[in-house]
């Protein structure tokens, strides 16, 4: 009988299957270990020379990418502490849309250094207080490192935009950043509203078309719809558009209707009135001057017939959001029911045509004049995974554009900022008297991770690079960074590698927050994993990451 003296302690009190970990060795060190493993995965993807990862997710979809946000997203990290890092990178991805790798790698490095400190005998709470002081100081210094004159920028000036975007795009598609940046910058500038702070990422669309190469990619002012026109008219220029959200068909009541027919004559008449009705409606649309009808739902056969007769082009866009974007492009107001549109409700397009690109029929809607709020980057590439990766690079570029619309300040890129931070935070640590000075010093050291990884990934000698970087900074030039192509250290203003201040700010802050959160935990209580189908044979255990 298992009902004698109950064993003492928490384990006896919890439901079966619970796991309880507590204390330094069991919880803190293990957590750190898991986070280190995770950051080791993403770290090799950092920077322009980062390696790609092949990730196959649970749906057997293949990803070939070096975008950290995608990698950790598809990895489905199980370990709770590593999950905190993943959540931090997701927050970064949502906030800025770039810099997710920096978040994970940096917090991984912070935790790795924390482990050394713990082994030295420091208590996690002292490390946390040191790290908190470190990040506060870092934010202060980062502000000072901002390049003078960069707080005012013309977000419509392509050169300025490209200089700020290049580093972000280059870290995803090295060697192709010039082509991509120019495409993205064009697309973004076209749709930038009067107040740049209101820039909406959604207004830059990406259309991926298989075939060709990156040099075939273009920017279209307007939309590219991956569908064919419904009718036989495939090309219209300079025309008015009527948009109907509810479909182009005979109207119907909400309550079920029944046609009451007593004899054959009535049947015939009914069809005739029906026809007449539809014709009347289509004619009304045609009379209003519209040349194109866009329907949000089904297009009736009979309606289509009359549209053809009145030489109207018919498009069907079944996605509600796509339809809204179409309205934004053309300036049309979507009407719910098929009826005669007001002249105000009509939109305008410069040209709308069905084209065949790479074996796919697409409808290109162009609107060159002002008032256009949507642009599309047409990406060409040889395989799906290349296209996906290009799309992610474009997304990062667009997000960077959005970030620079909010805050255009820039800091030197190519690890120059990190080394300067490392140097100055280290100096700061000497002034502290408490035990946390060790933690601050380690915090400063963690910044070296960025140049080290950049050099490592580029196949350069990391120690040499770091020491010459420090030498450069010690001589007073805070802008010395790594030139990855030549493998030497140079002033980044000659290389023109800049990072956005806001990206760095959020990435470092999220990373420090995540690291502190992981360190603050001293007990983990895990419930039994809920039932449900298990994927594969691997047990969903602690040692997976």
């Amino acid at each position: 009988m298992g009902f004698q003296m109950q064993p003492y302690g928490i384990q006896s009190m919890l439901k079966e299957g619970h796991k309880h970990l507590s204390g330094l060795d069991e919880a803190v060190i293990k957590n750190i270990d898991a986070c280190k493993q995770l950051s080791a995965i993403t770290r090799t993807s950092l920077g322009p020379n980062g390696m790609n990862k092949m990730v196959i997710n649970h749906l057997d979809k293949l990803f070939v990418t070096n975008d950290a946000a995608t990698i950790v997203n598809e990895l489905e990290v199980q370990h709770p502490a590593a999950r905190i890092l993943v959540l931090a990178s997701k927050a970064q991805q949502e906030e800025i849309g770039d810099g997710a790798n920096l978040t994970i790698s940096f917090s991984g490095e912070l935790l790795q250094n924390a482990e050394e400190l713990i082994r030295m005998g420091l208590h996690p709470s002292e490390i946390i207080s040191g790290y908190t002081k470190g990040i506060n100081k870092t934010v202060e210094i980062l502000e000072e490192l901002v390049e003078k004159g960069s707080e005012n920028m013309d977000v419509r000036n392509k050169d300025q935009v490209i200089s700020r975007m290049k580093a972000a795009v280059a870290s995803k598609q090295f060697g192709q950043e010039d082509i991509l940046c120019s495409l993205v910058a064009d697309a973004c500038i076209q749709v930038c509203p009067k107040n740049p702070a209101n820039f909406n990422v959604d207004n830059v669309r990406v259309a991926k078309l298989l075939g060709g190469g990156l040099h075939n990619s273009t920017v279209v002012r307007g939309l590219v719809l991956k569908s064919d026109a419904v009718g036989s008219i495939k090309r219209v220029e300079k025309a008015k558009v009527a948009v109907f959200a509810g479909g182009v068909d005979t109207s119907a009541t909400e309550t079920k209707g029944t046609v009451l027919i007593h004899n054959a004559e009535q049947l015939e008449n009914y069809s005739k009135t029906e026809e007449a009705k539809v014709e009347e409606l289509i004619k009304a649309v045609a009379d209003s001057g519209a040349k194109i009808i866009v329907s949000g739902a089904a297009v009736g056969e009979m309606a289509l017939h009359f549209c053809e007769r009145y030489k109207l082009m018919v498009l069907k866009i079944s996605s509600k959001f796509e339809l809204r974007r179409f309205c934004r492009t053309t300036g049309a107001v979507a009407m719910l029911k098929l009826s005669q549109p007001n002249p105000d409700d009509l939109g305008h397009v410069d040209s709308i045509s069905v084209e065949e690109i790479g074996g796919v029929r697409v409808t290109v809607v162009k609107n060159e004049e002002g008032g256009n709020t949507v642009s599309t980057v047409v990406l060409r590439g040889s395989t799906d995974s290349i296209l996906d990766d290009l799309e992610r690079a474009v997304d990062d570029g667009v997000n960077t554009y959005k970030a620079m619309c909010r805050d255009s300040r820039i800091v030197p890129g190519a690890a120059a900022t990190e080394i300067e931070l490392a140097k100055r935070v280290k100096e700061f640590s000497y002034k502290e008297t408490g035990l946390d000075q060790f933690a601050i010093a380690k915090f400063a050291e963690s910044f070296e991770m960025v140049p080290r990884t950049l050099a490592e990934n580029a196949g350069l000698n990391e120690m040499e690079i770091i020491s010459s970087l420090y030498a450069g900074h010690a001589s007073g030039n805070s802008k010395v960074g790594i030139d990855l192509e030549e493998g030497v250290c140079k002033d980044v203003s000659t290389l023109n590698v800049w990072d956005l201040y806001i990206t760095k700010f959020f990435a470092l802050k999220y990373a420090a927050d995540a690291a502190c959160t992981v360190l603050r935990v001293d007990q983990i209580i895990m419930a039994k994993p809920a039932g449900g189908p298990k994927r594969g044979d691997q047990p969903a255990g602690m040692d997976e990451d």
Partner: protein, 535 residues
């Protein structure tokens, strides 16, 4: 054994075995929670069945999420959770106090004392402590203008035990202002009138108080304004969509014109209602730049939305019911259930209504309202577990402020009360008690020390040193608490460390009750299904 005769499957534990099981369970639970207590407590990470993460320092959350199975532990946990339901704080202290009472009793019982005598002593000590608290508490005059500083101190004391310092200090102002905002003279405070809304966005320190309402949905029409100033707010509960009739109806028509007429007729009723709203809008907004916002609890279908959008009205549909009440309190006006007799008096007012889009989510802010009686605490944080942590803390903070206003008194914190009460029990009360019950009083008095002891322990200080220096000060007539950073005695009054009177009262009340019940158990019988599977 006699029970075996009655039910061969039943299990039984007698006498000391039963007692020890209970004591062990109480001590075990105490061990889990003790690291939580106080501002220097550590964080626990809870991983749910689905792998979801929760980080907490709050005893209540921990007990709820931990899925405890030991029957004694469940009993203690329930008391502690009940404590939270009543006063919103003090869960950890309750568990610790019960555990310590059991631990102290164990000593005496092992020496052969009967639990009954101890329990009698507890009862006397409890009454004496409650009386002592009446004298000890610091009265706070509330009146019409409550002393904000005192409220802030109480809130800060509570919040610092749940969150790290910088964030706790920021939330202090927020919760105090929120409670004062919804407070109406002569009415009890309804904390439901403070909405907490969360956005996964930016950092935890961006959490702020919105004087108005934040709704977690946006207008559904692309042409409606995203931002409107000087708005009339119509809070309504009117269906603006076509409802199918209850009875099974059908239309009969014989040509397309007839059908068109029916389509039109179908909509007429809804359109009429929409037109009434538009009429009102035209009435109040003609000749000025003011805007008009309709917030409807029921649905608004696309054709109605379209009509409203054309009239320049911002319309929100399917607002939550609880928000309807809050909207009226925040903006004024009244919620209308029919559009038949709309008058401008029904309308509320807000200086600013705008939509904020965050990824896929839309939020509508109704701000700059006149003398609001409802407000929203907008919690921001980079990820869900941060938000959940803040949410729990905000809830406790609000309760603490409310308790202070209602109690009209506070108790000195940082262990000062516990030490003072112990000295009082040992020096005064014990002498008046006859016989062996004295020992019960002594056990109770020593059990009170668990709070300062644990506070010291969590700060990495030496427990015994701390207790000795604190009691020494008390013996000289100084009321002091524990300074968590240095281990030196401090005056909690100067430092602004105050606890809720009702929380402390509840702890003193419920702790001994449960402890007594557990001590008086002499037989545990488990019949039927075996919960602990044979190993």
């Amino acid at each position: 054994m006699s029970l075996r005769v009655l039910n061969p499957n039943a299990e039984v534990l007698n006498k000391s075995a039963a007692l020890h099981m209970n004591i062990n369970a109480a001590k075990g639970l105490m061990d889990v929670l003790r690291t939580n207590l106080g501002p220097k407590g550590t964080i626990k990470m809870l991983v749910g069945g689905a792998g979801d993460i929760k980080l907490t320092k709050d005893g209540n959350t921990l007990l709820k999420e931990m899925q405890i199975q030991n029957p004694t532990a469940i009993m203690i946990a329930r008391t502690a959770v009940a404590q939270d339901d009543i006063s919103g704080d003090g869960t950890t202290s309750t568990v610790l106090f019960i555990g310590e009472l059991m631990k102290q009793s164990e000593r005496y019982i092992d020496e052969g004392m009967h639990p009954r005598v101890l329990v009698d002593g507890f009862e006397i000590a409890k009454r004496a402590t409650l009386q002592f608290m009446e004298k000890f508490k610091t009265p706070v005059v509330m009146g019409n203008e409550p002393d904000k500083e005192i409220l802030k101190m109480v809130a800060r004391t509570t919040l610092r035990t749940k969150l790290y310092e910088a964030l706790a200090d920021q939330l202090t102002d927020i919760v105090v202002n929120a409670v004062l905002c919804i407070r109406k003279p002569e009415e009890s405070i309804d904390l439901f009138m403070v909405e907490t809304m969360h956005m996964r966005h930016k950092f935890d320190v961006d959490t702020r108080l919105v004087e108005g309402i934040v709704l977690d949905h946006g207008s559904r029409h692309p042409d409606m304004k995203r931002r409107a100033e000087n708005c009339y707010i119509l809070t309504s509960n009117v269906s603006l969509e076509y409802d199918k009739s209850e009875i099974n109806a059908g239309f009969f028509y014989s040509n397309a014109e007839q059908r068109e007429a029916m389509v039109a007729a179908e909509r007429r009723q809804v359109d009429e209602r929409v037109k009434k709203i538009i009429e009102l809008k035209n009435k109040v907004c003609s000749g000025n730049e003011n805007n008009f916002v309709v917030i409807n609890q029921k649905g608004i279908d696309p054709p109605s939305l379209d009509l409203l959008a054309r009239a320049g009205i911002v319309a929100l549909r399917r607002a939550k019911r609880r928000n309807m009440e809050r909207l009226v309190l925040a903006c004024g006006g009244e919620a209308v259930n029919s559009v038949d007799d709309l008058t401008p008096d029904c309308l509320g007012w807000a200086g600013l209504v705008y939509e904020h889009i965050l990824g896929e989510e839309k939020y509508t802010f109704v701000e700059n309202v006149k003398n609001p009686y409802s407000c929203t605490i907008l919690i921001k944080g980079p990820n869900d577990h941060t938000i959940a942590q803040i949410k729990d803390a905000v809830r406790d903070g609000l309760r603490a402020v409310k308790n202070t206003i209602e109690d009209e008194s506070v108790v000195l914190g940082a262990g000062a009360f516990e030490i003072a009460a112990r000295q009082h029990l040992l020096n005064e009360v014990k002498k008046t008690v006859q016989g062996r019950a004295q020992l019960g009083v002594e056990a109770f008095a020593n059990a009170l020390l668990v709070v300062p002891k644990t506070l010291a322990e969590n700060s990495g200080l030496d427990t015994q040193d701390v207790i000795i220096s604190l009691t020494g000060e008390h013996d000289q007539g100084n009321i002091v608490g524990l300074n968590q950073h240095t281990g030196e005695p401090i005056d909690p009054h100067m430092e602004g460390i105050f606890d809720n009177y009702s929380v402390k009262r509840q702890i003193i009340n419920s702790g001994p009750v449960i402890a007594s019940q557990l001590l008086l158990v002499d037989e545990v019988i488990r019949a039927g299904r075996n919960m602990r599977k044979p190993t």
